[in-house]
Symmetry: C2
Subunit: 325 residues, 2 copies
């Protein structure tokens, strides 16, 4: 199935993505966690085959390509999780994939992307090189299709299938669909997708301190950029300079506000997920849980929290674990 | 439902346990892992609410108690995982639980058992105190029912439900039931249960070096004990001095042999589970995967591996992660 260039993501597209994803990926568990005497529902997307929800959007996008597009390959831009998602889907479909990745991406993400058979092209993120420009040049030279990490209607729909699954899993437990979903937010692909999937829920995006462009954009009513001197962050997966209009249109209509998690709050959430859920969660993947544990979220009876990824280097994770020992 | 004292565990009992468990516990995921070009299926029992499969046997046992037995409470003996399983089931059923635990159990296991509302009674494992004698005294004084960690027919049946679930999950993937299951082995509750659940599969128990009493018992054809000077092991969950006849009868008939994993092999398996599956697995829980990764298991096309638990202290896990960095 293909769409016109001005295609906008829809709830029907999310439903289609959820069916496509269910054919190929086992459902990730929805784990209960007691917080302040309430049960919240943690969606462990870190247990996807590539360790993050990004596999959903990549699969929905690549399966929507025409035969002629497939033959010319795809190009992804990513710090690592979208990279692995695109590489995984491309290998499965026999499509050539090149991924533009920052030279300071976690080694585990670079290694895993290469292990999935993708060509990795490094760019100088710390030096300020524009990744989209790098990707654009490669696409132009090869006639390849750009698979954007978040500003793409199919990618948004694919990520939204996470919400569809949560609602189905809660129904099996005899519960109504979540009335609130707290999600880590980089460019807003997951946040926008969840908003389409769950029209009656409040969707709360959570960003790392200093990378709160979506928070400020929601407050301002128009897209704001991360400051040029934004601080370093362990949340490589959420380091996006600004959201895109296709994401922001949806978020503006559906997200009253965004929240910010500090580095210490994020590390505390990683340690809690280790001890209580026995999950390895990367810093960016723990941002939403961090906001919940820090008391920044008004908990409801049916709050779901996305644990979006688990790709972190052993040394970095050991440092996080040791902080309180 | 109750049984006579000479009740022996059966495949029908496992099927009943699987139905009872399915009513109360979400299924743990069965995660594919590529090893030497083959896919093995990893059953993540570390994701159970108490972080280990032990919750299955405890639930099946406690729900089989008569009302008069429930009123007098239960006593468990455990380094921590069975403790948490019994405490969880007892709280859920409103039964008083006392757990006899070694003073050198991981702090996380002691804390979690108390947090589940159980009374923890410590015994001096390093000093050689006999835990069964301690438990026996408490049972006699209170009229409480002993819930043994492995030498109990209901516990064996409950643990076997792990195998029932694996077969169902593989069927949903269009695969036949596993023809081989590799499982960490302490006293043999899980191993015997898997044998009952999967009558056509080879069941391979894996023990830590120096604690290989089941290996030697299978070779000798009769129950052997761990040596009095057995080395220290990080696998606290597998530190049992000897299996019991109710377990050994089944294992002798169904397990051609057992395997041993070294401490280094176990740490390597914990690191691989961290990096490739994003799971926190405790040393004892990684023993079966360790044997597979060390090339000690003849892999088949349908080999399942049990990752039996994930309760490990942050400091201990950080040390394991740092070993290769």
């Amino acid at each position: 199935m293909t769409h016109s260039p001005d295609y906008r993501p829809t709830a029907a597209g999310v439903a289609l993505a959820a069916r496509k994803v269910a054919e190929i990926l086992p459902r990730t568990p929805l784990l209960p966690l007691e917080v302040e005497g309430r049960t919240i529902w943690c969606k462990a997307e870190s247990l996807q085959p590539v360790g993050a929800f990004k596999i959903r959007g990549a699969w929905h996008r690549l399966t929507a390509l025409r035969e002629t597009e497939r033959a010319r390959g795809v190009v992804g831009v990513s710090s690592g999780n979208h990279a692995q998602g695109v590489a995984w889907a491309a290998r499965r479909l026999g499509i050539a994939a090149a991924i533009v990745m920052p030279i300071d991406a976690p080694a585990v993400k670079l290694d895993n992307t290469r292990a999935l058979g993708a060509e990795v092209i490094l760019y100088d993120r710390p030096g300020g090189e524009d990744r989209d420009a790098v990707a654009g040049r490669i696409c132009a030279a090869r006639g390849a299709t750009l698979v954007h990490a978040f500003g793409d209607p199919w990618v948004i729909e694919g990520q939204g299938s996470t919400g569809t699954e949560i609602a189905a899993q809660m129904a099996e437990l005899g519960l109504e669909a979540p009335d609130q979903v707290v999600a880590p937010c980089g460019g807003g692909g997951l946040t926008a997708g969840l908003a389409l999937a769950l029209p009656d829920a409040r969707i709360v995006p959570v960003e790392p301190e200093g990378w709160d462009d979506v928070c400020r954009s929601l407050a301002a009513g128009e897209i704001q950029r991360v400051a040029a001197d934004a601080p370093p962050t362990a949340c490589d997966a959420l380091q996006t300079p600004a959201t895109w209009p296709v994401n922001f249109e949806i978020m503006k209509a559906r997200c009253p506000f965004g929240l910010v998690a500090t580095p210490a709050e994020i590390r505390a959430a990683q340690r809690l997920a280790f001890a209580k859920l026995r999950l390895v969660i990367e810093p960016g993947g723990a941002a939403a849980l961090a906001a919940v544990l820090a008391g920044k979220v008004d908990l409801t009876d049916r709050t779901a929290v996305i644990l979006s990824g688990g790709n972190t280097d052993a040394e970095a994770f050991a440092r996080v674990l040791r902080e309180d020992t």
